[in-house]
């Protein structure tokens, strides 16, 4: 099956065109002394979509979220969330947002239920409703059994789920997820992703910051890549990937013996210009970089002409890691960050 193309197609329904902008950011600047945390950022998040803000540590992602949640004020530029200006209408704005992040957290000393009840009361829910909402959200995020335990006794995944529940109490129109899975092990990360996808299903607009390509691909329909306080690229994830590089054709012959002869045959034919066909013995596949539909057709034709039985054939878009590299000229991970793979080793 042509898996890569299928993924591209399923993404389309997440992008209803013509929706209103839930978050509008224009020329946002924030300096800390000499450091330009944000250096003129523009951003639009359409209602009901997930916007991924991708960048390495220190790119300005958290500064952006802190401005959009009225925790700090910008030095220049302006931003509105659900029509409320971040500087002039902070209190109305706070009514429509939810914030979950590496910095904004729950009270560790309080039991899960008490955390949610407290936030309900702070959001002016009547006592009865605040109680009901706390119960309901604990249930929804599978925390009912841990309701009475202090949050400090929770596992990393439970903590994040409680964070998410806390930011959902006020039924926000716009939800900020500031690196929601940083420091989590892969299994827990998947749990959090599932929860986020459910929330998106309910129609919440999400602004997600992340340094993980995989996370942006999983959750976001559109992406803004920022680096050193500047937007360096933006658009639908697949568009962005297509813009940056060609596809890779992955062919799995039914008989692995065919792998090497097929590879050298394709290189000899020179359809893609250079001998770049690689053999991935582990998965028993051939990887052929292609730059156009014509090349794709030619390569497939050549394989068929040799009489090789094909077990599977797919085209793949470049990974976001590669996207970042070609956009910024340096790798996405600053030395101190963990990539998801490194993280798996340390955090289990």
């Amino acid at each position: 099956m042509v898996a890569g193309t299928l993924v591209g197609m399923t993404r389309i329904d997440k992008n209803p065109s013509g929706a209103n902008s839930a978050v509008t950011v224009r020329g946002l600047v924030k300096h800390y002394g000499e450091t330009k945390a944000l250096d003129g950022v523009d951003l639009d998040v359409r209602e009901g979509t997930v916007m991924g803000v991708l960048g390495p540590n220190g790119a300005g992602k958290t500064t952006l979220v802190r401005i959009l949640s009225t925790l700090i004020t910008p030095d220049a530029g302006h931003a509105t969330v659900a029509g409320h200006d971040v500087v002039r209408q902070p209190r109305q704005l706070r009514r429509v947002i939810g914030l979950t992040g590496q910095y904004a957290s729950v009270d560790e000393k309080l039991p899960g239920w008490e955390n949610l009840y407290m936030i309900g009361r702070l959001l002016d829910l009547p006592r009865k409703e605040a109680r009901a909402r706390a119960d309901e959200l604990l249930e929804r995020f599978s925390l009912t059994e841990a309701a009475k335990r202090p949050a400090s006794t929770y596992s990393g995944g439970m903590r994040r789920r409680l964070d998410l529940a806390a930011s959902m109490i006020g039924r926000p129109a716009v939800l900020y997820l500031d690196e929601p899975t940083t420091g989590l092990d892969p299994r827990t990360r998947n749990e959090v992703w599932d929860e986020v996808q459910r929330m998106v299903g309910d129609g919440v607009t999400v602004l997600l910051t992340t340094q993980y390509m995989e996370e942006a691909e999983q959750l976001a329909s559109e992406l803004t890549v920022i680096d050193r306080g500047k937007v360096i690229a933006g658009g639908a994830i697949d568009e962005l990937k297509a813009k940056v590089g060609g596809r890779t054709l992955r062919i799995r012959p039914a008989d692995p013996v065919e792998l090497r002869p097929l590879a050298s045959a394709l290189d000899e034919l020179g359809i893609t210009g250079i001998a770049t066909t690689t053999v991935d013995a582990g998965s028993g596949t051939l990887l052929v970089p292609i730059l156009s539909d014509e090349q794709l057709t030619a390569v497939t034709g050549a394989v068929v002409a040799r009489g090789v039985t094909i077990a599977s054939i797919t085209t793949e878009l470049p990974s976001l890691d590669e996207v970042f590299l070609s956009l910024t000229g340096h790798r996405a991970s600053a030395p101190q960050d963990a990539t998801p793979t490194e993280l798996e080793k340390v955090s289990v």
Binding site: R88, Q89, Y103, A104, L110, I119, R121
Partner: protein, 274 residues
Amino acid sequence: MSAATVPVTTDIKADARIGLRGHLRHTGALVRRNLLWIRQDPESMFDAILMPVVFTLLFVYVFGGSIGQSLGGGQDQYVQYVVPGLMAMTSMNISMGVGTGFNQDFQSGVMDRFRSLPIGRGSVLIAKIVVELMRMLIATAILLVVGVLVGFDITNWPGLFAAVGLSVVFGSALMWVFLTLGVTMKNAQSVQAMGFLVLMPLQFGSSIFAPTESMPGWLQAFTDYNPLSSLADAARGLMVQGPLTHDLWVTLGWSALLTLVMAPIAIHKFRTKS
């Protein structure tokens, strides 16, 4: 600019309106939070419960006899002297908790959550102060009970209540100082260390534990102007020997001064900390 300002001004008005009931609701929810802290972590009440007991027993039984003699009596005489002083000390020590508590909130990120909610930032502040005042009253009550058990004679009930009130007033004025420390310093340990550094000389260089007459002149100069001496002497005057107006006014003056100077600084630091 001019086109945008028209709708914005009305927004600011709507923005500012939380209302008294709203503020009370928010403060109530946050007071509940701080009380739950105590329930989750009863050790945090040790300072309020044990300190008055330990200090009273320590001072009365270790120093009571000899200092009492110099007062022209014995241990009984010293109990009458030291209990009002310990009351002053207790309210001071408790007020330090405001600083460490806020520091932890900022470190843990809970404060960011609060500040992204549509509540007045003052509610967070007031809730903390309310709970610390409760702790202060509990500690004072325990101190008085222990005091009576070791022989303190309550001769003047209205004076006693006035003295409790006075030390609470002074203690809450001092909270602004610790609040400022709590918001500006890096971690709770340094807030506590700094607090003790300030408190120790003030407490021992005062008339809390012993009369100052036998101290060297330079130290007396310090103790005379030490607000804790005034507080201790005023409490003593109210509880034991009838009102001492001078010390009473000096203490109230200090409380007003500390509040007027430190409260705006603390509130400003609190509001602008990011």
